[in-house]
């Protein structure tokens, strides 16, 4: 991305929103995770999948650090650590990989889907994992399907790992034979959230709603020209593009964060399927009212508080929209690794006037801006949180927003709670 970008929303909203925001674009040190980190939650979501990173000791060490204690729970991921002899010749590396995979599959007959996950070292030495995946797929079919995607830091930032993983599933999806339009919800959600959404769609009369990723690899949803996709997460550029190539159309919507956001997200789907407004209201009104009531106590803590987002997951813009509109917070700067104009069009239109967006990062210069702005709350990664706290700033560490159910009506107050807790703690402590 380069040059100035106009961010006109595709549908003008009633309120003048953040239609022409200033976007700071910076190059420099990025204080972010690579896409491999996505495995930490994806391996729990797809229960019969195994993620094999082909990488270095650094990759194994990252997975261990990011997964913390989970590493002990027989995780469905591992790293094939490349050694010096693997770097010497390509043929050898492929043989080694075959050996690792065959032993892995012997030991874990429960695996039905194996992802070979590319890393920086494997990309730089140009180890062709897609060829390895098709070779191994042929060898192990029909029992095991072998796919590949890259989670390398040179290609992906944090949540883009999930995007690439889901994109690698798209060619595997069966062809839809449906004559009527079908709804596909895209993005890994907490099981409880997924179930709530399924119930809400059911109450609107949309019975047949599919989710990608599925909980088991054999339950892949079908896709075709009648598929309408609703993105549950803002970081799914590649997946949406691939689904588009299979004929699916994108339903523009803000993301389902907060009471208002969830309603707007559901409404976009309801409108796309011609759900009668009365039916929509009766399906959603009580849950929305419940969510609004649950948010009320948090307004007191959060209204008027200035918030600064360091780039991390691409959730920053939807979060800032929810926190500003539903809780009265004031975003100072919203940093995000990547701004996908089309997917965020509905969100950008709802941002407060005059907010600063930043795409990419030069962490030292951004920290200078944080210090100059002295926000009430800084949303950042774990590498920055304690140092900023020590400087007297209040922080909220961002990775928790990926590991906590925050979407939908009944998680709206949990989401607000995540941002309120640091303030609550500050007022309690007397030491």
């Amino acid at each position: 991305m380069s040059g100035t970008v106009s961010l006109l929303p595709e549908r003008a909203t009633a309120k003048a929103g953040c239609t022409e925001p200033a976007v700071i674009r910076e190059r420099g040190q990025h204080e972010v995770f690579c896409g491999l980190t996505g495995i930490v939650w994806m391996h729990r979501k797809i229960q019969d999948a195994f993620f094999l990173v082909v990488g270095s000791r650094t990759c194994a060490h990252l997975m261990q650090s990011a997964a913390g204690v989970m590493i002990f729970a027989e995780p469905r991921f591992g790293t094939a650590v490349m050694e010096e002899r693997d770097l010497a010749g390509m043929a050898d590396a492929n043989e080694e990989l075959d050996k690792v995979v065959s032993r892995l599959l012997e030991r874990r007959p429960d695996i039905k889907l194996l992802f070979l996950v590319g890393s920086c070292p494997s990309e730089v030495i140009k180890l062709d994992l897609s060829r390895a995946a098709s070779r191994l797929s042929a060898q192990y079919s029909p029992d095991v399907r072998v796919l590949n995607y890259t989670g390398s830091g040179i290609e992906t930032t944090f949540t883009e790992g999930e995007d690439r993983c889901l994109a690698s599933l798209v060619p595997e999806l069966p062809q839809s034979r449906s004559k009527a339009p079908e709804l596909l919800v895209v993005g890994a959600l907490a099981d409880v959230v997924e179930d709530q959404f399924a119930r809400l769609f059911g109450a609107m009369g949309l019975g047949k709603v599919a989710f990608l990723p599925p909980r088991r690899s054999r339950d892949l949803p079908a896709v075709g020209p009648n598929t309408k996709m609703l993105l549950a997460q803002p970081f799914l550029a590649e997946t949406a593009r691939m689904l588009g190539e299979r004929g699916a159309t994108h339903i523009p919507a803000p993301f389902p964060l907060g009471a208002e956001g969830t309603t707007a997200w559901l409404k976009a789907a309801a409108d796309a399927f011609g759900v009668d407004p009365m039916t929509f209201r009766s399906a959603t009104a009580s849950a929305e009212a419940r969510a609004r009531r649950a948010l009320e106590p948090f307004r007191e803590t959060l209204a008027g508080r200035r918030i600064f987002f360091m780039p991390d997951s691409q959730l920053e813009i939807p979060l800032a929209r929810m926190l500003s509109r539903e809780l009265g917070m004031e975003p100072v700067e919203i940093g995000t690794p990547f701004i996908h104009k089309a997917h965020l069009s509905e969100e950008l239109a709802l941002l407060p006037e005059g907010v600063t967006l930043s795409e990419g990062q030069d962490v030292d210069r951004q920290l200078d801006r944080v210090r100059a702005a002295s926000p009430d709350l800084t949303v950042c990664g774990l590498g920055l949180a304690n140092p900023l706290e020590a400087e007297g700033l209040t922080t909220k560490w961002s990775i928790e927003l990926l590991f906590t159910p925050i979407q939908g009506y009944d998680q709206a107050s949990d989401l607000a709670g995540l941002f309120a807790r640091p303030f609550d703690r500050r007022t309690r402590l007397r030491v």
Partner: protein
């Protein structure tokens, strides 16, 4: 390729970060792809540091590979120098940086910075974290310690030494340094410089003023100590003061190096009395398995046998570079050392040895939990709970007190152990419960677990690939029931001994009689 879920050590550049972060005015510029900044949170979260590590990463992405990554490195270096104004800089590459071969050393030279630059060659695909830390510290000393000065050293009232090897993210390094500094002061020896922990670049130039060096962590400090010996003629210590006896020997060693008269240092330690008090009688001969880095594993094995009266039934390390000392120590305990960095090998060895206590790392804590065995942590890698707020050295006399409390804590207390052996039917105090003082919770049957580990493990390794023994078939039902009456912490061993006894005699069935015949046989 090696299939890995858990790695005992990070890559070597993490070792270099540990040295840079330990020091006060050194900055490290690392040629690394986007994402390698995850390492920052080891320091800010696990060790809970209140500052960012002094590391600037180039964080190159794919689009940079098409252009000039070397230029990116150079501009990052110059910007980092201008922003942080360090007294010295370290330059190097992470594993991916190594592959693109941009030569950070040459680029740093071309940048002609106004401070010393220490280039680091850390082969990521051969070496690991501790080696990286040792090599980095060595290079810093080589570049910054200056030339030997002609003439006499200035006369001082007291002999002085440097303390070498403590780093950021080191297991209990903070308090070990405090404890040993105090002991040295009481002995009449001044501490000249502690390095790398807390040292500045100028402090490295002052290393030569000391009379000798104390090497607390050989994995990290020994290589630098050898260089200082060669360059400035400073001798260095060889005894690591973990445990009462080792601390006494260490103090004798430093007195010798400092030219002080020998004396019997008894020190303020409670361990000997606690260990001799009758309450500790039941600890005699408890079977313990020890694993960790070479220094801590060897020290712990000695303390366990000499000072606790335990029996060491397994000893190993993941530090391949220092395996020799562990092999020698294992021999002295009548054991074959386990040298591996594959945790499944360690798990299999622990299951095989059937210990009552495991002294190990964070990973052994998990293995022991699965096997239903008590565990205490003696070595890195460790998690956040082993960077405690309270004073908790491993070294010196206070360290010995800490070891005592820590190692005895996971064991079932004496009276409870007796009653578990006496009365097997109690509905509350069953032996598949955790020790009472550790709160509620069930232990996994170490028995079934030992068999499970010997069976195909979820991840392939040579150890796990050993054929599973289908040995349960030998046991008659009443013998199996009788075996259950043996307390859990010796049951696995009793099972193994009985099976070996039966096998040696070609028995086709194990009866209650066989069980007691075997018991009598092995008691001789």
């Amino acid at each position: 390729m090696q299939l890995t879920v858990w790695t005992y050590e990070g890559p070597p550049h993490v070792g270099a970060m540990r040295v840079a972060t330990a020091m006060t005015d050194v900055h490290y510029v690392l040629h690394a792809p986007q994402g390698d900044t995850y390492a920052d949170l080891l320091f800010t979260m696990i060790e809970r540091r209140d500052k960012r590590p002094p590391v600037t990463y180039t964080t190159f992405q794919a689009r940079d590979l098409g252009s000039d990554t070397a230029e990116l490195f150079k501009s990052t270096l110059i910007r980092a120098y201008e922003r942080f104004q360090p007294a010295a800089m370290l330059v190097g590459a992470s594993c991916t940086g190594e592959l693109i071969q941009d030569d950070p050393a040459g680029l740093a030279k071309a940048a002609a910075l106004d401070c010393p630059v220490v280039p680091l060659e850390l082969p990521s695909y051969q070496r690991k974290e501790n080696w990286g830390a040792g090599e980095t510290f060595y290079q810093i000393v080589r570049h910054l310690s200056g030339e030997p000065e002609a003439g006499e050293k200035p006369a001082r009232a007291r002999p002085s030494c440097n303390i070498l090897g403590a780093t950021a993210l080191g297991f209990r390094h903070r308090d070990d340094v405090t404890e040993i500094s105090r002991l040295l002061a009481e002995t009449g020896i001044d501490v000249n410089v502690v390095a790398p922990l807390g040292a500045s670049a100028a402090d490295i130039a002052r290393l030569k003023d000391a009379d000798f060096n104390v090497v607390l962590y050989p994995e990290i400090g020994e290589q630098a100590a050898r260089l200082l010996k060669k360059t400035f003629g400073q001798p260095f210590t060889t005894i690591v003061p973990i445990g009462v006896n080792a601390t006494r020997e260490f103090l004798a060693e430093v007195r010798g190096l400092a030219g002080l008269p020998a004396n019997e240092a008894n020190g303020a330690t409670r361990l000997p009395w606690f260990s001799r008090s009758v309450d500790s009688n039941y600890l005699t001969g408890k079977r313990v398995f020890v694993f960790g880095d070479a220094t801590h594993a060897v020290a712990a094995a000695r303390v366990a046998s000499e000072e606790f009266g335990f029996e060491v039934v397994g000893l190993g390390t993941y530090s391949r570079e220092h395996a020799r000392s562990v092999r020698e120590a294992a021999k002295s305990h009548g054991l074959e050392a386990l040298i591996t960095d594959d945790y499944l090998d360690v798990e299999a060895a622990i299951a095989e040895a059937g210990p009552e206590l495991v002294l190990g790392t964070q990973m052994e804590r998990h293995i022991a939990k699965r096997l239903g065995i008590g565990c205490a942590v003696i070595s890195a890698p460790v998690h956040v709970q082993d960077y405690p707020a309270r004073y908790s050295p491993q070294m010196g006399f206070e360290g010995a007190n800490v070891l005592w409390d820590t190692w005895v804590h996971p064991l079932v207390m004496g009276l409870e152990e007796h009653l578990l052996g006496m009365f097997r039917e109690d509905f509350e105090f069953t032996d598949d419960a955790l020790p009472s003082h550790l709160g509620p919770g069930a232990r996994v049957s170490a028995e079934s677990e030992a068999i499970r580990v010997a069976a195909p493990a979820p991840m392939p390794t040579e150890a796990a690939a050993r054929s599973p023994e289908t040995r349960t078939s030998l046991w008659a039902g009443d013998a199996e029931a009788e075996l259950k009456k043996i307390p859990f912490f010796v049951r696995a061993k009793a099972r193994r001994n009985t099976e070996k006894f039966a096998e040696d005699r070609g028995l086709t069935e194990i009866t209650v009689e066989t069980l007691y015949d075997a018991k009598a046989h092995f008691a001789r």
